[in-house]
Symmetry: D2
Subunit: 416 residues, 4 copies
């Protein structure tokens, strides 16, 4: 790659980072606080993260607080070279990653980060921490993990006694579940379906499997686009919510012959699977919004398919015995990532502001912070603070309790 190439790449990356940062005003606000406090001075932060414009914004925030930041990717396909180029050229952040690198290179890069002996380790899937577990960590090292999957792996390591240092489970914060899942994934799932198919949603019968935060976000947006939505659920309380929210609730076996489009958002496997394929309408569109490609049983489907035609990017037609055609989006991988662009910066702002606040909290080594190697819940105190920061950043003012109201609430039994 020539110097000019890299320059052009970095310049393009800079534009994209600026575009993302503009939509991450809470992080920007907190960054300006950190810049003033320089509270991360002298600390080394190593991260294995999706190298996207939003992650760049986080890294630049930590850098502004005085930290030395070194990064590798957390998946060879999520690394964006223009972002890396800009971080290196413009922000003096060391990056070890490139798009599509092979496993050897990927692990080499994890090793480079570990070799830096970071004080704080940011992880997205626990690959870096798993790597660091193989050798002794510097005393005082602390990790922060932001995915469900990563936390599962870390809990396994904790049980096996191989977790190298304490790790905070950032993923569990309600701020992430209630916002990113509902508003972010709710939108990007629809976005992915439209980009892959260009179908009209109005009039379609859309079956949403799962009525958690993601499913709710999808169902209400599909309705907003004119779909007639059916919900399937395992959990009775969630099913009852879907019912009272005006959706038809059916078992998948009854929904299967009715749906034009299926979207899974359950975290479980075989939600649309062998017992259902034969029941589906000719032409049914199958999309998965959940993290793994097991919700729609794509393996089983591939096995029974007589023909396979790739119609457009992320849209494959499978002809099954009897002649029906089924359409799989993005190979059954999470459609908001595979066919669209994951959660918008606007809502990643919440997660990464929470991350930055947690990093600063860790950096101050509060006495509540355990020192033994275990998985630690995310501090709850930042929830309200991130929300307040975000509201201020988007220019939304809201009420505060007056002294009289505070008194009323505290002396509830007196007031009645």
């Amino acid at each position: 790659m020539t110097t000019e190439n890299i320059e052009a790449l970095a310049t393009r990356g800079r534009s994209l980072i600026r575009w993302a940062e503009r939509r991450m005003p809470a992080l920007a606000l907190f960054k300006s606080e950190l810049e003033a406090r320089r509270s991360l001075r002298g600390l080394k932060i190593g991260g294995s993260l999706h190298l996207t414009p939003e992650t760049a914004a986080l890294a630049r925030c930590l850098r502004a607080a005085g930290a030395e930041v070194v990064l590798s990717g957390s998946n060879p396909l999520s690394t964006r070279d223009e972002i890396c180029a800009s971080l290196v050229r413009d922000d003096k952040i060391e990056v070890f990653a490139h798009y599509g690198e092979d496993p050897a290179s990927y692990h080499d890069h994890l090793r480079s980060i570990a070799a830096k002996a970071p004080d704080i380790v940011l992880d997205d899937g626990a690959d870096l921490i798993a790597y660091m577990a193989q050798r002794k960590a510097k005393p005082g090292t602390i990790g922060i993990e932001q995915t469900t999957t990563g936390i599962q792996r870390l809990r396994g390591m904790e049980t096996a006694g191989v977790l190298p240092f304490p790790v905070i489970a950032l993923n569990d914060a309600p701020l992430k579940q209630e916002f990113d899942n509902n508003y972010g994934t709710g939108q990007n799932t629809i976005d992915g379906i439209l980009r892959a198919t260009n179908i009209l949603i109005a009039g379609k019968t859309v079956v949403v499997a799962g009525y958690g935060w993601v499913g709710k976000g999808i169902a209400s947006r599909m309705r907003g686009h004119g779909a007639n939505v059916i919900v399937t659920e395992i959990n009775a309380v969630r099913a009852l919510h879907a019912y009272y929210d005006g959706f038809r609730v059916l078992p998948m076996a009854e929904a299967a012959p009715l749906g034009d489009v299926f979207v899974t958002a359950t975290g479980c496997r075989e939600v649309v699977a062998e017992p259902h394929f034969g029941l589906l309408k000719d032409g049914a569109v199958l999309a998965n919004s959940g993290h793994f490609d097991v919700e729609i049983d794509v393996g089983a489907l591939a096995r029974i398919a007589l023909e396979r035609d790739e119609i457009r990017p992320n849209l494959v037609e499978l002809t099954i015995p009897g002649g029906k055609h089924l359409y799989i989006l993005g190979q059954g991988r999470l459609v908001g990532h595979s066919a669209a662009e994951a959660s918008p910066a606007d809502v990643m702002d919440l997660t990464f502001t929470l991350m930055a606040m947690t990093v600063e909290w860790v950096a101050t080594r509060p006495i509540e912070l355990p020192t033994n190697s275990k998985v630690i819940p995310s501090p709850t105190e930042f929830t309200e603070r991130v929300a307040s920061t975000k509201l201020a950043a988007v220019g939304v003012a809201h009420d505060r309790l007056t002294a009289s109201q505070r008194e009323y609430i505290q002396s509830w039994d007196v007031g009645t």
Copy 2:
């Protein structure tokens, strides 16, 4: 009152109870189980409850399980004589109450219940338990309280060491908050506003104070009627939800001059108060959905009002200095009760099925049930069961985990 009068009254009451029971199918389903088990045989249940058709359905359910049931009212204005007449004539349930009785009579009636020495005490506001606290309770007595207010009073009694027996805090169950508040109160608040005013909601700027379950239910229904909704909130996380749900979020002082209609749903006092009155539009309509008449400061408003005109039932016009007219609904009392008919039987079904399940659980004296006099959380195990019963009762089937799915979920770290 003549015998014919009572007969006619009871017959009317019967129709109303039948109408309510038809819309409480979960309770009916559980009642048929209880009838088969007769699991409350030999028990005496005393209740101080709002004597409505829905409560009659509950009482009849407990009676069908073999219990002896005796009832008094929990508020002289909520007792409906036709319901009492029917319970006495048709169900062999003793009732001590009549509409509009004076305090002496009301307390006399509490005494009558206490004198029966019930094994299980059902309370709605804690008046009966407070009365029973004045003398020694029969050993083994257990109470169940279903209001926030009652629980506050009981906690006060617990702290003061005067709680006479253990009491289960039924009110705290999520099943009540997420359903009755959201769907039930959400609807009856709008119903009350329409009955009191007959205003067109479409086009109105409606300010909803509070974005908890009640506020959410109101805001989404107002939008469904064509209102432009503004939300005020104290809590930043809730404010952020309102913002992402597409509502304008403002401090009340900024919302005050914009609103055509104000609805408070906060549980706090002085939400629309003296600092706001002068800012309101001429013609602003003020309604409170919360439990107490303190959310809109009706006292302060009465003090500054120059004139007062009762236009229609539950609609009073107040002329304030400067000549503006403000309209108060139902004297600032919870408008869904004062101007409409409280939560429909369809959703009370959930609360009362939970109540009936809790009564049977108490009746079996499980070892987890504490015996010392304190306030006990509602058992969580019934949440899923009530929801399942309701779904079955309204004819909604939903999915169950397959063996393969259960395995996948339990071995999460393996699956990834």
Copy 3:
């Protein structure tokens, strides 16, 4: 009736008229124009109208423009005595009507109006014009009729050659159809259903028959309350709209066994009728929003019913062979009127401002106005003017074409 009674009645009426007028700001704005112009001076206006607060506002507007106004009722059950008392005492408007009068009295009152030889005749159902057709009308008399039914009758009279003078068909204005039907009737239908039943709408399957302006208004509001809505339609284009708006579209015979609540809004008969009764769920609620009580075949239902129980005002339970219970609201009469309060003043404001503008137009005897006795279309020029007046009255400003934009639009072929 004593003088004190009448005084009290008139005072109560005054409050109700004030409350209505406050929500009819377009009419108020136009009234102040008329007051300045006194353009109806010397004219006599006779009306046979529903004597409601909204009609009082119209009459007072015409009076303020200098007209002499004399009124009778247009239905003995829609006359409100307190309104009449106030018009007589406070506005010097002659009124010949009282609530519940018998047919002889009703016709006597029509005769009193006719005897006044009004210049302009306002009619609501054409009873007054039909009466006036029996004798020679004063030359130059002109009528204005505001109901579909009335216009049908007038067309019959026109065909039969007995129409006594030209009559303007105000009802056909799009301003009425698109607003009153959609927003006004859409709301009052739901209001009527709630007042009659207090059912929870959330979760219910609601079948809306007819997807015209009324049906659309009902369907979207039902959805806003959490219902799952099914639409039935005769017209394919409307059915296609319902489909693309996300509703299930089914023939009534297929919807019958699915619905919890049925609302007819078709203008046709036998929409829910004998072929459907046997298919309905036990407990189905039947309401009609249309003008006549023929949409649900209540006659046929009464014939087959084995038992009839009046549960609450406007709620009758019928037991049909096989033991199923069906619930009829307001005897199948238009539920927004029979169980609620018809269209709110806020939207009647549009119809009555249009009426007042039309009266002034007639009063100026424009040359476009035909003089032979026929039914004349409502002038279209007022549509935009009423809408503009309403917007101004509720404080809504909107854009105007700039000179440059006007040029662009007029020279469209040049611009491309």
Copy 4:
């Protein structure tokens, strides 16, 4: 281009056409009728059309009816080579077009079509008819034009006396306006905005300029995604609809400082223009949904811009004096086409079924069809038929009038 290339291209085109046709079931149903009737046998149809998969479906339908079909493009940038390749190889349809051809080639291709002397001319913008006007047309030729722009040009030609043959104005059919504009463009506008920006819509203040069918479709979908929508309008009746639908209605000058995103759908110029640029928020996103790039005054904006940065495809950042950044999507061209994929096949199905029915109607030379050269309104009789065909095709059954209902409707005055 090699044979293998063309083969691969055609094969890819075939998949895309199949995918489109699957979502055009009304056309498929009508095609099978035409195939049986062969009613276009012996006719030559020449079209200048956007050579998309949907147009291919139309061409194949006409071919199946026996017509000889020859096509050229209607815009060099909308021609898709894979579609052309497939039509040529698989359907024996002659095509004269390729993507990105220069004007000389484009006009050459129009000439090739004209040289075929088609009996029926299909046009999309009137380029072909304008070309054919330059020489004498074969007697009996008839045209069908489907765009607003094209019809404007044809009316100009009619006035100038140069229209070469009668042309049917297909575009004016309500079936197109109410469906394609509302549901199709409503969706593709949002799709385009998301593809160009990946912003989160939830929480954004979105200003929709124009509340016609397109604006309504956008506004309701934006709300469904969690936006807070402001509407601007010139027309008072439309503004009043927006108000009653719960949107804020403001003049653009007042909306300008409030909006995060602006979408124009007016058909007018300078809707967001010089007077507004200075008022906009830093970061405002500007998108146009209307046909021409004049709604947002991009020329004026380019003139005042200090800097211009192309951030991603279809997303340009302009820095204006004072330092604010504004973001223009797709150069202000109709965003649903420039950044997404125009109206989905599902809704083009309506327009093209109407086109096919109109072609067959023309082919039968009905006596109602004028023979002199003028612009003829689209026959209204097909509206209901297309809607019925579509409903049947998507499996939606609906009610038909019974004999009794038909009698009731026809004898309305008798029934009351």
